[in-house]
Symmetry: C2
Subunit: 573 residues, 2 copies
């Protein structure tokens, strides 16, 4: 039983589960479902699939996450960014609407699931740490813009092919803007108004009107549902579909998705591997971020390893429901939390409501205009665009700002995958570039203390023949030549130097390249009559050095416990 609870956090939460908790969960579940149903269909269109596939991705994966997830309030399902990544990765492999496009999407789910489970079993979840905040921030902002721009054609009622980059999309739109469909545009404007109104105004008004809180909440979150309802009724009533050629969702097959086998093709997997890895990593990263943020509001923690399993299995669930990858969504999770969800029972309820909808009510969506779905997507993703982030980064750390900007621009104009990969590469290259020119401080004693500080920043005591240096970086291949050059130059400039003390407070490790360079340096310094000493070497580094003949090679050079001792003995100050 303990083992079961270990793997299925829900079972743990059900101990002491009470009627009030259930009412909270029920309410949150209903509210999320009201938001989820239109969003799911919209995101499916964004992913290049028929709308029902978004609904299919909102049933089994949610059930699975409810059982295995360690976050009480994370709302899993189709999300905007993963949908964009799906369409951008599959569009080059198969034609939208074809059998093979759907097959690729299903394989993508399978791969994402398998990758997440493999990461868990190899304990490689930490791989997401390679994606810095700057890369994620630049990527998210740009992806949100790409998504928003991709929806403009639905708002205008234009029949344009999917464009891979944002500039192409915009130029297509401007070329065809005169062919816009006025009726569609009016529907879109109304949808925007309904979404904006229910998000920003409705809540206060209903509260002021004295409506009970339990009713205000679901109504305020029902903006997408209102947009859908109004759009559908308008199309039906005014016969906009036939008379004004307003594009609608049309026939959606009724009935639950059937669990099916998957046609696996290794060539296809090879093509899908990189996109699947990125979808898995970004999806996991976003889910964990949202989950952690929500958990900390309740003074709880989530377990990233359990999230790998839960999201991995949820994606396998997607694959076997014959649909595309899922992740934890930002917007719906916030709604789920603020609507009072206490456990993943809330998600179970949402999934059940979606299942009922798919089983019985799909004909209701026949008249649903795609323009309304486009408006829903745009309103959902615009808050993700965070242009202030660049300014904050720039002030704090130029390298981060550069990474953010490069990722942002490349995602917009060169594609989603290339943008992320280039961002990750750039952040690593800049990191190494930075540490390849480490800060090296020449230090002296702060008067009457045992502390040593930079001679350029503090008023300190030094002695001519002894040079005390603090290298503010671990010594490894990328910076070892720089450090060597620095020391040799100091000694060449000040020929009175006889002793060099390398203070190792910031040297956290030494690699083989640096060891070789140090040995070479000792040798070169000895040739000009200078002895190299070390001080404050850390335990792990000392262990490392002791495993080699390095200490013998130091000759007259010593390793001092403190810089204080070193300076007293060598310089007498």
């Amino acid at each position: 039983m303990h083992l079961l609870i270990e793997h299925l956090p829900l079972l743990g939460w059900l101990k002491g589960y009470q009627r009030e908790t259930f009412v909270s969960d029920l309410m949150a579940g209903i509210i999320v479902a009201i938001m989820l149903i239109p969003q799911a269909m919209a995101y499916a269109l964004l992913a290049g699939l028929p709308p029902e596939y978004g609904l299919y991705a909102s049933i089994l994966p949610l059930f699975i996450y409810s059982l295995f997830g360690s976050s009480r309030t994370l709302a899993v399902g189709p999300v905007a960014i993963a949908s964009l990544m799906v369409s951008s990765s599959i569009s080059s492999i198969a034609a939208q609407g074809s059998e093979s496009y759907l097959n690729a999407a299903i394989n993508l789910s399978l791969l994402v699931g398998v990758i997440l489970l493999i990461l868990r079993s190899l304990r490689l979840g930490a791989i997401v740490n390679f994606i810095s905040h700057s890369v994620l921030s630049g990527f998210t902002s740009a992806a949100a813009i790409v998504i928003a721009v991709s929806q403009i054609k639905y708002l205008l009622g234009l029949d344009l092919p999917r464009a891979s980059h944002v500039d192409k999309s915009l130029s297509d739109i401007f070329t065809h803007i005169t062919e816009s469909n006025t009726a569609t545009l009016l529907l879109a404007v109304t949808a925007f108004f309904l979404l904006w109104y229910s998000k920003n105004r409705l809540c206060c008004q209903l509260q002021r009107a004295g409506m009970p809180e339990w009713l205000v909440q679901p109504i305020c979150k029902a903006g997408p549902m209102f947009a859908v309802l109004f759009g559908s009724v308008a199309v039906w009533f005014f016969n906009l579909g036939q008379q004004y050629h307003v594009d609608t969702v049309g026939m959606i097959p009724q009935g639950l998705p059937t669990i099916q086998g998957i046609h696996i093709d290794l060539d296809l997997w090879q093509q899908l591997f990189v996109p699947a890895l990125l979808i898995a990593l970004i999806g996991f990263l976003e889910s964990v971020s949202v989950g952690t943020a929500l958990a900390s509001k309740r003074k709880e923690r989530i377990d990233p390893n359990k999230e790998l399993v839960a999201l991995g299995l949820a994606n396998l669930g997607s694959a076997f429901s014959g649909t595309y990858p899922v992740a934890g969504g930002f917007g719906r999770s916030m709604v789920n939390h603020s609507a009072g969800a206490q456990t993943t029972i809330a998600s179970l309820i949402s999934a059940t409501l979606v299942a009922i909808t798919v089983a019985f009510f799909t004909p209701l969506f026949y008249y649903l205009p795609k323009a309304a779905l486009g408006a829903i997507i745009i309103m959902a993703v615009l808050p993700l665009v965070d242009l202030k982030a660049f300014k904050n980064c720039w002030r704090f750390n130029k390298a981060d700002a550069l990474t953010l900007a490069a990722t942002f621009i490349l995602v917009l104009f060169a594609g989603v995958e290339l943008g992320i990969l280039a961002g990750i590469t750039l952040s690593i290259v800049l990191l190494i570039y930075r540490s390849s020119q480490p800060h090296i401080a020449v230090v002296g004693r702060v008067k009457d203390t045992e502390h040593f500080r930079n001679i350029n920043r503090h008023d300190v005591i030094t002695e001519q023949s002894t040079l005390a240096l603090r290298v503010d970086e671990s010594l490894y291949f990328a910076n070892t030549r720089f450090v060597e050059e620095f020391i040799l130059k100091q000694c060449a400039d000040k020929p009175e130097i006889r002793q060099v003390i390398l203070i190792c407070t910031a040297v956290n490790f030494i690699d083989a390249s640096a060891l070789e360079t140090l040995e070479q340096l000792i040798h070169n310094l000895r040739d000009v009559g200078v002895t190299l000493h070390l001080s404050e070497v850390k335990g792990p580094v000392m262990d490392q050095l002791n495993s080699t003949p390095f200490v013998e090679q130091m000759g007259n050079g010593k390793i001092f416990f403190t810089t204080d001792e070193a300076m007293q003995e060598l310089a007498g100050v």
Copy 2:
């Protein structure tokens, strides 16, 4: 004039140039030429080009390096590893022996030259720091083996196509070993003996026989020349070419290479870019390493920036001589140095001798058996194989050993370029992986001092409600979550903790991801009643933090100058 000397180090050396210096240079120049002529032809064959192209690469590039090089004794010209890289990169583009193969080789020289000059102008010479000693060591050993194996077919007189990987070469050889040509094999064995004998025995014997030193030196270094002479005479005298089908060099056109235009093709450049970059980097790195080592023996320095220019121009010289890339060679530079070269005048003399050979004496090589050239190459590269390096690395740092082994194996079995690129990538990934799980020490006061050390390694004083931590790593995207988790876990395990002091002696910088995480951490700790303090923040990091509202967000948390002050004030110990 000063400006000229700045750019042309040779002019500086000529001041005070004396008769004795010239005699030294002359002697070294002659000795290197004796070694260079057969090696150059052999390396050209290795590069997949007719032998005369190795000689062409030994004239103009040497003249250019003599003028611009900052190393007095570096011997530039065709080298084994660059030759291998040329053939491995061009063989997939064009057929050996074709016009387009030669054209690709010339374009490669041009690209290598341009890349080196660009690196100089963008001040990006430090890019070679990304190649760690381990990658270079693994690569060099493997390349030497690949080269040696590629020559076996010449020793056996087998006519086999160039194989890309060492396993393919070996299996080809074993399949055809019964077709070996006995006469060729005998010539090869004799060549090996002559090379081995003149390298290891001859010198002592001549000295003992009382021969004057100025004559002993050139004779001892003339092993390759002896092998060439003996082989040629044997082939001519016994008519081995016609009677026993011994493969010889044959007709070599007489006359100097003519400076020519180059057919530039951007498609080709795109294909050649990565190989050219690698040839440029490895060539530059080897040249600088050898140059530095030799200069330090004379208590001199070389200037890496001038080397970029000198090698860049030398490769342009190669391109306009219609031949393939050059670099500074290890073996010949050592010989040049030990033969007493004082300035690059020695190289000028070598180049002149090669030019005279090309102009007048190429018919002498008509009977030269390729087996002798193969033996020369093998003897030249075998010292580069350093299998001990792995053992040393393994003891010191497992990550370096892993990188070395991976590079070695991939270069052998997956190709030269892939091997280096994978090695570089792996060394960077392992570096980041290492720093993503930084060493974090819980520290306490060493009795009666102001020093704080790891509680697990030293006998120290601590206080229950105050946790002092030293993170032995800069805080950045890859490790920030790890540090956060560590601190939160410590606080969860010991609920008596009220104050956390983060000792920043080893924190050399903080990136935007880490700043965000720290802010989040302060917030999360505050929720459980714990205050975060910092101590010993370095100047540059403090400057960074002051540029943001971070300090305000610390609330009751303080930034202490020393850990001593922090512990006294917060814990009273």
